[in-house]
Each structure stands twice: as structure tokens, then as C-alpha cells.
């Protein structure tokens, strides 16, 4: 059967914060352009919806771009590109103001101005919030605003399986309609990837089921390197068992972390966070918690050791007004009312600092291919992201990628039909074979579990050469075993098993890049902490890591210089 092909000017993969912002930017840049937005879930289901705490941008009199910039650079352990950071802090307030114009219900001060709260690693209150459902409100505002543009054509519940590239220029994507199992070519003169993170490669994560690193793998397989993948952010406060996030806003509003002796250990002992205490950056606090547990000061629970997040002194009224979702989630998922008792928490995989290597425009090494949001690494976050910077990042760089893609698309033709068809036909054959694969000894769920386990043991908060090497080897084996999975669902219609199989392959790609880059970086920087190399080594490692896809073997790991500027690397002490 002839493969259907649809053409748009710009194709956007992903309907989360970054994808929607990019789509709106394109629509506003040129109303004549048609936009195809492909997403494997309906946009409002994207995982941006679960972000809780807030979005950072300078808003107060006592704040300025300089301060926000330096906080971010320092938070990144000097691995953030400073040109990117400067652009980011300047655009941030404009982007959040736009979101306000589009209806986002930001929480307010008495005088009607937008309220801001304190956040980890930020030197003043600059995190805008809408109670503690910020991602939810931002995503819904963006999605609803995007509906007014008729030129944004949505392809909901369609799964992009391959980038169609011809002579180093991207021409579109191959997209599998989950509804009917039919693969289509969606052509565009530029493609923007905004597919979100890959937290699902870990067993214990705040991320939802859809965060399987698809976009990273798509770009990676097409030849774009993945950058800084070894930096995986552990959020200090996840609920044991489920990994559901208790937002940093809980500490921003005054919550304390306590060990089993009820000590505020961040105050009692020196963990590098200084007077910031609970409002230190995430990497440091996560390490502190692990150290407390290792020193025997953890509490014992059904899901292993944990610490307490104590909000009881805040009082019901404040909790209800500022962080109602924290209360809702604790009651629902762990049976604790934070008004009355401390919430058990432990560090949980939260965010990928790394991702598709892009420049400040979001452009990748493939012409016409852009990336933004969590799937991209524009090098804003470096070795450690500051909480509340990433929602803003989705907006600032989503918009920029959108505008740059428009500029690019003006000077480019559509490419050859035959070539794309040939690629798509191969893709159809591959997917059909997978769907009909009844022989094989491997189960998707088992491989996923093994991948998860090895990622936790090798690439946890603390890392070591030996366990990392072991992870690399296990991943090699899993890669082989992947060829031996069998599927039980042969249906064309809404075959979620087929999708899960493809997602697993994408996860393996990401996991491999994480583990391989981690082994190479023989220092401790930001979220990457090695027991065998406990210090930062600017001499040898003040550079980004790049992982290049090598068919049939582990990635080749290379480097890329960091763009410095105003701020020289110094010891990171708070």
C-alpha cells in the first residue's frame, strides 16, 4: 500500500511545554506557515503537566539578570554556557509575562502583581508560581492558547519512529498512528524535537510513563550527538515507593529536612549548602541525604530508608494556600497529612540535564533539525539544573527554536519524495516485523526492569568506576537481548505493547549514553558525583561530553568546549 505523506512547513514533535511554545512561536512569526504537531499523547497529558513548584524569571525590585545568571552558572557547576544563560535570563520575564497574557492563573500578591517564591539555589524570590500546580497550569494555558491558531494541525497519539534525513538535511518524520497502526510521512522544511526527558530509564523517578527519551534516541540515531548525558538530577524529595514528587516549593515555603534524630542535618553538619540549608541546590541536598542514611541516621520504611520533610510548623492555612498539591499527594499516596506529620522522602531521579546537542538557536548538527525543552541540551543547566529553571527553559528556547526554524525553512526546498518513501518503507517493514514477532524469549517488562536496576546501581547519586563499568556491560547485554523480545499483541489498533517495545529501545540508547559518558568523566561535578574522584577537575573536564551513535557498538564519547564569559569557575560553596 502507498504510504501516505502529508506536508507542513514546520513539524514539531512533542506537545509539552517546549513543543507548544515552539508551535505558537511559529504561528506568530508567520501566520502563513502550516505547522504539524505530532505527539504520542494528547498534548495536555504531556509530562510538563506534573511540574509543581514554579518557573524562574526576574520579577522583583531586589533582583536582576546578573543575579539570576550567576545563580544559574554556579548551579550548573560552571558547565552551563554563559551566552545561553545570559540570553535565558533576559528572555525569561518576557516569556512568563506572555504566559500570563495567555491566561495562566499565576498566584498573586495583594496588589495584583505576580507572586514569587524562594527556590533551591536561587538567591532571591524569583520563582513564579500558580500554587503548586505550575506545570499543569502552564501546559493547559499553552495548549488552550495554541487552539486559537488554526494553522497548528495536531497529530495526537502518533508516535514518531524515525527522522527522515537526506544528505544532512532533515525532511520530516515517520510517524506511526497509534490509533490504527498506520505509518505516515509527515514532511516539514524544518523539524523541532520537543519530546521531553528520559527519567524512565531509572526505576525510581518522578517521571511519568511517557518519558522514555524518544527524541534523544531519534536524533542520536540520525547522527546528532547527545550532550552531557552523565548529569542526571536527583530530586531530594520523592515519596518512597512511587517516586511521586514533593516539590521543592515545600522547602521554599519553609519546610525542614530532618533525620531520625529529628536533627536538621543540613544545618547541623557541613554539606556545602552553607546558610541556604534546605534551599541549597538539589545535587548537594541529595548527596547529604544519602550520606545521612549511610551514617545510620535514616528512618526505616517499607520501601527502604528515608528522611523526613517536616512542614508541620507551617500550619494548615499556609500549606493549603501555597502548596495544596503537596498535601493532596501525601495524603493520597503515602497516607500522611503534612499538617500533622512529616512526609517521608528520599532522593529520586527527576531530570536529565543532558540531551540532544544544540546551539543557542536550538539547532543541531543536522540542518533543519532543532530541539528544545528537556530532550535538548542547550547547555543552560550544565552539570546541575536549578529548580524552576526548566519550565522557563521550555518557553525561552522553545520559542527561539520555533523562530529559528521559521528562518531556516524559508531558504530550503522540500527534498526528494522517492528518498523519503524508501526510508519510510523500510520503517514500515521494521515495525511490521516487530508487531508480528511471536518468537523470542525476552519480555519487555523484564528487560525494562533489568535496565532500571543496572542504571540505579551504576549511575545513582554516588558513582564508582566498578559499578559503572558493570552497568555498561549489562546494557550491552540488554541491547543484544532486545533483538530477542517477543510480542503477544498482534493488533494494529492501539497496540501499546508495540509502542512499549520501541520505547524500550529508545531508553536503552539513552541509558547507554548516560553510563558511557559517566565512566569517562573522572571527576565530581554537579549531579555527577564519583567516590573515586571526589573533586571537580577543571583542568581536564571543564568541557561538555558528547556521545555519538555507533551502530552495533557502544557510543563514541567526545567533548565540546564550554562557553565561558563573565564568570570564571570558582569553588562552588553556598
Amino acid at each position: 500500500m502507498e504510504i501516505e505523506s502529508i506536508s507542513h512547513d514546520i513539524v514539531i514533535v512533542g506537545g509539552g511545554g517546549a513543543g507548544l511554545r515552539a508551535a505558537i512561536a511559529v504561528a506568530e512569526a508567520d501566520p502563513q506557515l502550516s505547522i504539524g504537531m505530532v505527539s504520542k499523547v494528547y498534548p495536555m497529558r504531556s509530562h510538563t503537566v506534573s511540574a509543581e513548584g514554579g518557573a524562574a524569571a526576574v520579577a522583583r525590585e531586589d533582583d536582576n539578570f546578573e543575579m539570576h545568571g550567576f545563580d544559574t552558572v554556579k548551579g550548573s557547576d560552571f558547565l552551563g554556557d554563559q551566552d545561553v544563560i545570559q540570553y535565558f535570563v533576559q528572555e525569561a520575564p518576557k516569556e512568563l509575562a506572555l504566559l500570563e497574557h495567555w491566561g495562566c492563573p499565576w498566584s498573586r500578591n495583594e496588589d495584583g502583581s505576580v507572586a514569587t517564591r524562594a527556590f533551591g539555589g536561587m538567591s532571591t524570590k524569583r520563582t513564579w508560581y500558580a500554587t503548586d500546580k505550575v506545570g499543569f497550569h502552564m501546559l493547559h494555558s499553552l495548549f488552550q492558547h495554541s487552539m486559537r491558531f488554526e494553522q497548528i494541525v495536531r497529530y495526537d497519539e502518533q508516535f514518531v519512529t524515525k527522522l527522515l534525513v537526506e544528505d544532512g538535511v532533515v525532511r520530516g518524520v515517520a510517524s506511526l498512528n497509534i490509533r490504527d497502526g498506520v505509518l505516515r510521512i509527515i514532511r516539514g522544511r524544518a523539524v523541532i524535537l520537543a519530546t521531553g526527558g528520559a527519567g524512565k530509564i531509572f526505576p525510581f523517578t518522578t517521571n511519568g510513563n511517557i518519558k522514555t527519551g524518544d527524541g534523544m534516541s531519534l536524533a542520536y540515531r540520525a547522527g546528532v550527538p547527545l550532550k552531557d548525558m552523565e548529569f542526571v538530577q536527583y530530586h531530594p524529595t520523592g515519596l518512597p515507593g512511587t517516586g511521586i514528587l514533593i516539590t521543592e516549593a515545600a522547602r521554599g515555603e519553609g519546610g525542614y529536612l530532618r533525620n531520625k534524630d529529628e536533627e536538621r542535618f543540613l544545618v547541623e553538619r557541613d554539606y556545602g549548602v552553607g546558610t541556604k540549608a534546605e534551599l541549597g541546590p538539589r545535587d548537594m541536598i541529595s548527596r547529604a541525604i544519602i550520606q545521612e542514611i549511610e551514617a545510620g541516621r535514616g528512618l526505616e520504611g517499607a520501601h527502604g530508608q528515608y528522611m523526613n520533610l517536616d512542614l508541620t510548623h507551617l500550619g494548615e492555612e499556609k500549606i493549603q494556600a501555597r502548596i495544596p498539591m503537596v498535601r493532596e499527594l501525601s495524603k493520597l499516596y503515602i497516607d500522611v497529612d503534612p499538617v500533622e506529620a512529616p512526609i517521608p522522602i528520599r532522593p529520586v531521579v527527576h531530570y536529565m540535564m543532558g540531551g540532544i546537542d544544540t546551539d543557542i538557536d536550538g539547532a543541531t548538527s543536522i540542518r533543519g533539525l532543532y530541539a528544545a525543552g528537556e530532550c535538548a541540551s542547550v547547555s543552560l543547566n550544565g552539570a546541575n539544573r536549578l529548580g524552576s529553571n526548566s519550565l522557563t527553559e521550555c518557553l525561552v528556547f522553545g520559542a527561539r527554536a520555533g523562530r529559528c526554524a521559521v528562518d531556516f525553512s524559508r531558504g530550503i526546498d522540500e527534498g526528494s519524495d522517492a528518498n523519503l518513501r524508501a526510508q519510510a518503507e523500510e520503517e514500515v517493514a521494521r515495525i511490521e516485523a516487530l508487531r508480528n514477532k511471536r518468537s523470542g524469549n525476552e519480555k519487555i517488562s523484564r528487560l525494562r526492569e533489568e535496565l532500571n536496576t543496572t542504571m540505579e546501581s551504576g549511575c545513582g547519586v554516588y558513582r564508582e568506576e566498578g559499578s559503572m563499568q558493570a552497568s555498561c556491560e549489562t546494557i550491552d547485554v540488554i541491547k543484544q537481548r532486545l533483538a530477542d523480545v517477543s510480542l503477544q499483541d498482534g493488533s494494529r489498533v492501539f497496540n501499546t505493547e508495540l509502542i512499549a517495545a520501541m520505547e524500550l529501545a529508545n531508553m536503552v540508547d539513552c541509558a547507554e549514553a548516560v553510563a558511557r559518558c559517566a565512566v569517562v568523566r573522572k571527576e565530581s561535578r554537579g549531579a555527577h558525583t564519583r567516590r573515586d574522584h571526589p573533586h571537580r577537575d577543571d583542568q581536564n573536564f571543564l568541557h561538555h561530553s558528547l556521545a555519538y551513535y555507533e551502530p552495533g557498538s557502544p557510543p563514541r564519547v567526545g567533548t565540546k568546549p564550554v562557553t565561558l564569559g563573565k564568570w570564571e569557575p570558582e569553588e562552588r560553596k553556598y
Binding site: N177, R179, D180, V182, V493
Partner: protein, 146 residues
């Protein structure tokens, strides 16, 4: 097993690309669980319609002279009429209780420049007015003079 809903319920304007199973009504509908009160609430429509027409007959009879009135009164003594009015009374009270609990939140937070009072106050007012009017009505109808 639930019965089918309208075959077009929640169908998209552009048909989907695969065959779908038709939508089903919620299994408890119409008389199970909470639905019973809703269905009964709707069904009181019949009682209200009839009560309205009966009241019309009564008032019409009053306007048609002493004899017509007397014959009307005689008819009303028919046990069927009394039974119907008992049903009507139950219905009216049922409607009042259900509606007064639902009404307050249907008030917009602001009507023009005016803000309605909080919900409990509205409920209290509704009950107050209801009892008040009923008391006055009853008093007048049983022969009292205002």
C-alpha cells in the same frame, strides 16, 4: 450490562480511522445509585404539569360561580384526587430539598457589580422564604385573615 447510549454520543466530527464499539450508558442509569434521585427529580415534571392543570381547573371553577366551585370541591374529595395531591406534596418537598441544595453554587460569583452571599447563607434564605411562604399560604387558605 449497560444499555447503549445515543449512537452519536461523544463521536468526533471527523470519524476516527478504526471501527469503534458504541458508547454505553453508565451502568447504574437510570434508577441505580445517585441516578435515582436525578431521574425522580426529572419525573416530578409530570406531577408539576398535572398540578398546574388541576390548579387551573380549580381557579377556573371559582370564576365560574358557586355551583361550579362546589362541584369542584366535591371532586377534590375523590380518593384518587387526594392520593394525587399526596404524591404532589411529596414531590414538591423532594424538589425543594434537592433544588435548594443545588441552587447556591449555581450563583455566579458576580452578577454585574453585585456579589451574592456565600452558599450557606443562600441555602438558609431559601429555606426561610419557603417556610415563610408556605406558612402564609396555609394560613390564608385555611381561612385566616392577614
Amino acid at each position: 450490562m449497560a444499555r447503549p447510549a445515543h449512537p452519536h454520543a461523544m463521536q468526533p466530527s471527523r470519524p476516527g480511522s478504526t471501527r469503534t464499539a458504541p458508547p454505553q450508558m453508565p451502568p447504574r442509569y437510570p434508577m441505580g445509585g445517585r441516578y435515582r434521585n436525578y431521574t425522580l427529580f426529572d419525573a416530578t415534571g409530570l406531577v408539576y404539569l398535572l398540578v398546574g392543570f388541576v390548579a387551573l381547573r380549580i381557579v377556573w371553577a371559582l370564576g365560574s360561580g358557586r355551583e361550579a366551585w362546589q362541584s369542584m370541591l366535591n371532586q377534590l374529595e375523590n380518593p384518587l384526587y387526594i392520593a394525587f395531591h399526596v404524591l404532589a406534596f411529596v414531590s414538591v418537598v423532594f424538589v425543594a430539598v434537592r433544588f435548594f441544595s443545588l441552587f447556591p453554587k449555581a450563583q455566579p460569583p458576580r452578577i454585574g457589580p453585585a456579589k451574592p452571599p456565600p452558599a450557606p447563607v443562600i441555602t438558609a434564605m431559601l429555606y426561610g422564604v419557603w417556610f415563610g411562604i408556605t406558612a402564609v399560604m396555609t394560613f390564608v387558605l385555611i381561612g385566616g385573615n392577614l
